[in-house]
C-alpha cells in the first residue's frame, strides 16, 4: 500500500482517500483559469507548514509574482519563503530577451538545476507551474514525450512528491497538450470551469490514480477566502455514529405521523405546490427549534423578507421576536442575482460563522429555476455535503405542481433527502383540503396514508382523517385531477 500525503485542500483528501502519492508525480490539468495554480500553491503552503519543504518552480512567472499570488490567496507564501520552508525558483529568462532555435535540444539544463536545487535546499516536494510553459514553442511529439519523461524521471529519482500543472486544450477532449501522462504520472487530476449562462461552475475530477481507490466523476468545487474547496458527497468530518436522537417538528400530529419526530442529522425534503403550506411548515419547524434553544438559520429564496415576516405573523409564529432574541437568523436572497458558486460559498461561510444546528431552505426550486439541471445538481450535492459535514438537521422545501407531489423525485434529490414529506391540496366547496404524506423516512417507520393539514392560529395542525373524511377527500381528489387533465 503506497504512502500518501495530504494536500490540505478541503475535500480533496477525501476524494483521493488520503491525498497525493508520496515520491510520485501528479498531473493537474485544466484550461486556463480553472484554478490549477491555486491548487498548486495551496498544497505547497500546506506541505511547507507541515514540515515538507517544497520548491515552487515558475517557468514564466517571476518568483515575486508567484509569492504575490500566493499571498493574495491568503497562503502566506512570503512568510513561508522567508522561513525557508518554501523555495521559489524562476526557471526561464524574461520573454523580452531574444531567443532563437538552431536545432534539436533537450531539458537536461532544467534537470541539472533542479537536482542542484534539491540538494541545496533538501526539498521533498515540488510544484511545477507549468509543463505547458516549458514546452512552448512546442517541440515535435517524440521529443516532447522524451523531455517530459526526463522531467518526471528526475523528480522520481530525487524522491520528490511532485505536482505538475499543465494546460488542457479543452475540458473533455484529449486531456493534455502533452499526451504522455498515462505511463508517466501516477495520478491525473482534471479541473474544469463551465459557464452556465453567466454563472461559473467549477469542478474537479480524479481522472486516474494508479494503485489507489478514488472517487470517480466530477465534484463541484469553489474558491473561497481560504483557497480552493471541494464538496464530496461524504464529507470527511461527518459524525460516524448515526444518532437516532429525534426532535419535535413543532407541528402537533406530525410527530405522530413520523413516529416520534424528526431524526437528528437528517435532511428533509418538503414538496408541494404553491399554497400547500410548505412555508408555513418550514416556519413552524424553525420556530420549534429556536424555542428549544437551538441556533436556527432560515434561508428564504421566494419572498422578500418583510412579506415573509408578515405571513408568519398572520399565524402568530412570533418570528420577529425570535430573530431579536439572537438564535434565529432569517436570510432572504434572490438566486437569480448570484452565481450558484457564490451562493454555496456564502452558505458555507455563513454556516461556519453562525454554527446553526437547524437549517431551513425555502425553496430550492427558486434556485433550480435560476440554473441548469447540471448546475443545480452539483449545487445540491454541495449543499448536502455542507449540511452533513456538520451533522446538521435541515428542512428543504421544493415547489411542484399541484397533484404532482407524489411524482418521482429526481434521483439525486432522493439520495440527498433522508425524509420526504409531500403536501398537496384539493379545493372543496368551503375550504382547501390540505393533505400531507410521508413518502420516505430513512431510519424510521412512519404512517403511510395522508394526514390532513390545517393552517390556523398558532401555525399548523395535523390530524388523522376519519375513514369517511378520507373517502370524501379521495373522491374530491379524483374530481380535481379529472377536471385538470
Amino acid at each position: 500500500m503506497m504512502t500518501k500525503v495530504k494536500t490540505g485542500v478541503p475535500g480533496f483528501d477525501t476524494l483521493t482517500f488520503g491525498g497525493l502519492p508520496v515520491g510520485r508525480s501528479t498531473l493537474v490539468a485544466g484550461r486556463s483559469g480553472t484554478g490549477k495554480t491555486i491548487f498548486g500553491l495551496q498544497t505547497a503552503a500546506h506541505f511547507a507548514r507541515h514540515g515538507l519543504k517544497t520548491i515552487i518552480v515558475g517557468i514564466e512567472e517571476t518568483a515575486e509574482d508567484l509569492l504575490a499570488t500566493g499571498d493574495a490567496l491568503g497562503f502566506n507564501l512570503s512568510g513561508l519563503f522567508a522561513d525557508g520552508r518554501v523555495h521559489v525558483a524562476e526557471m526561464m529568462r524574461p520573454l523580452e530577451e531574444p531567443t532563437v532555435v538552431s536545432g534539436d535540444y533537450d531539458l537536461f539544463g532544467l534537470v541539472h538545476r533542479i537536482e542542484h536545487l534539491v540538494q541545496k535546499t533538501g526539498a521533498r516536494a515540488i510544484v511545477l507551474d507549468s509543463a505547458t510553459a516549458l514546452f512552448s514553442p512546442r517541440p515535435p511529439q517524440g521529443l516532447l514525450r522524451n523531455h517530459f519523461f526526463q522531467l518526471v524521471h528526475c523528480f522520481r529519482r530525487l524522491g520528490l512528491t511532485a505536482i505538475i500543472l499543465a494546460e488542457a486544450p479543452s475540458d473533455y477532449a484529449q486531456l493534455t497538450t502533452l499526451g504522455v501522462e498515462d505511463y508517466v504520472c501516477d495520478m491525473v487530476v482534471v479541473m474544469r470551469l463551465a459557464m452556465d449562462g453567466e454563472r461559473r461552475r467549477r469542478s474537479i475530477e480524479i481522472n486516474k490514480y494508479r494503485r489507489s481507490p478514488h472517487y470517480k466523476g466530477e465534484f463541484p468545487c469553489t474558491i473561497t477566502t481560504k483557497g480552493l474547496a471541494i464538496f464530496p458527497l461524504d464529507a470527511p468530518d461527518r459524525p460516524d455514529s448515526e444518532q437516532i436522537e429525534r426532535y419535535s417538528s413543532g407541528v402537533t400530529g406530525l410527530d405522530e405521523m413520523t413516529h416520534g419526530g424528526f431524526l437528528r442529522n437528517s435532511i428533509m425534503l418538503v414538496r408541494g405546490p404553491t399554497g400547500s403550506g410548505k412555508t408555513m411548515l418550514a416556519g413552524v419547524f424553525a420556530r420549534a427549534g429556536a424555542m428549544r434553544g437551538e441556533r436556527v438559520v432560515y434561508y428564504g429564496f421566494e419572498e422578500p423578507r418583510p412579506t415573509l415576516i408578515r405571513n408568519f405573523d398572520e399565524v402568530r409564529l412570533g418570528i420577529g421576536e425570535l430573530v431579536r432574541a439572537g438564535n434565529f437568523k432569517l436570510i432572504c436572497r434572490y438566486p437569480e442575482a448570484t452565481s450558484l458558486e457564490d451562493l454555496l460559498v456564502d452558505l458555507r461561510l455563513g454556516l461556519e460563522e453562525f454554527q446553526p444546528s437547524l437549517v431551513v431552505m425555502d425553496s430550492i426550486s427558486s434556485i433550480e429555476h435560476a440554473s441548469s439541471e447540471k448546475g443545480f445538481r452539483q449545487f445540491m450535492i454541495g449543499v448536502a455535503s455542507i449540511l452533513r459535514g456538520h451533522g446538521r438537521s435541515a428542512l428543504l422545501t421544493q415547489t411542484v405542481l399541484a397533484g404532482a407531489s407524489a411524482d418521482h423525485t429526481a434521483p439525486y434529490l432522493s439520495t440527498i433527502a433522508d425524509a420526504i414529506l409531500t403536501l398537496d391540496y384539493t379545493p372543496s366547496a368551503y375550504d382547501m383540503n390540505r393533505t400531507m404524506r410521508v413518502i420516505k423516512m430513512r431510519g424510521s417507520a412512519h404512517a403511510t396514508h395522508p394526514y390532513r393539514l390545517q393552517i390556523g392560529a398558532g401555525g399548523l395542525h395535523i390530524e388523522r382523517w376519519s375513514a369517511a373524511a378520507h373517502q370524501a377527500s379521495a373522491e374530491a381528489e379524483e374530481r380535481w385531477t379529472g377536471a385538470r387533465s
Partner: protein, 129 residues
C-alpha cells in the same frame, strides 16, 4: 547465451518502459526486473548478453547487485551498465565505481547515449570471445 537479450533493472515502471522500448526498437529483446532479488535470479537463469542496472533498488542496492553478479562465475562475464545519480556523494560514487560495472552512466540518461554504450559493450564482449 542469447546474444540479443538485455536485462533492464529499475524499480520505476516508467523508466523500464522507456528504456525497454528504445532497446526493442533497436532490435534487442528485453527482460525486466524491478528489484535486486529478481535481477540476480533472472541474470542467472536467462543469462542475458547485457544488464542495465539502476543504482536505486528497493531491496538491495544496485552496486551490491553488480558486485554479486561479478563474483558469481556464471554471470561475471555479462557486461553491466550501471546507472547512477549525479548528486551522489563522492564516497557513494567511489563505492559505485568499485562494484565492477563495465560502464557507468549518470542521470539524466540520454536514450541515444545509452544505446551507443550498449552497442559498444556488446561489440567488446563479442570480440573477447
Amino acid at each position: 547465451m542469447d546474444r540479443r537479450q538485455i536485462l533492464v533493472v529499475d524499480d520505476y515502471a516508467g523508466a523500464r518502459y522507456l528504456r525497454s522500448r528504445i532497446l526493442m526498437d533497436a532490435g534487442y529483446e528485453v527482460v525486466e526486473a524491478e528489484n535486486g532479488e529478481d535481477a540476480l535470479r533472472l541474470a542467472a537463469t536467462v543469462l542475458p548478453s547485457l544488464i542495465l542496472l539502476d543504482v536505486n533498488l528497493p531491496d538491495i542496492s544496485g552496486t551490491e547487485v553488480c558486485a554479486r553478479l561479478k563474483r558469481d562465475p556464471l554471470t561475471a562475464g555479462i557486461p553491466v551498465i550501471q546507472i547512477t545519480g549525479a548528486w551522489l556523494s563522492e564516497e557513494a560514487r567511489r563505492r559505485g565505481m568499485a562494484s565492477g560495472a563495465n560502464a557507468y552512466l549518470t542521470e539524466p540518461v540520454d536514450d541515444v547515449m545509452l544505446l551507443k554504450e550498449v552497442v559498444n559493450l556488446l561489440e567488446v564482449a563479442a570480440e573477447e570471445k
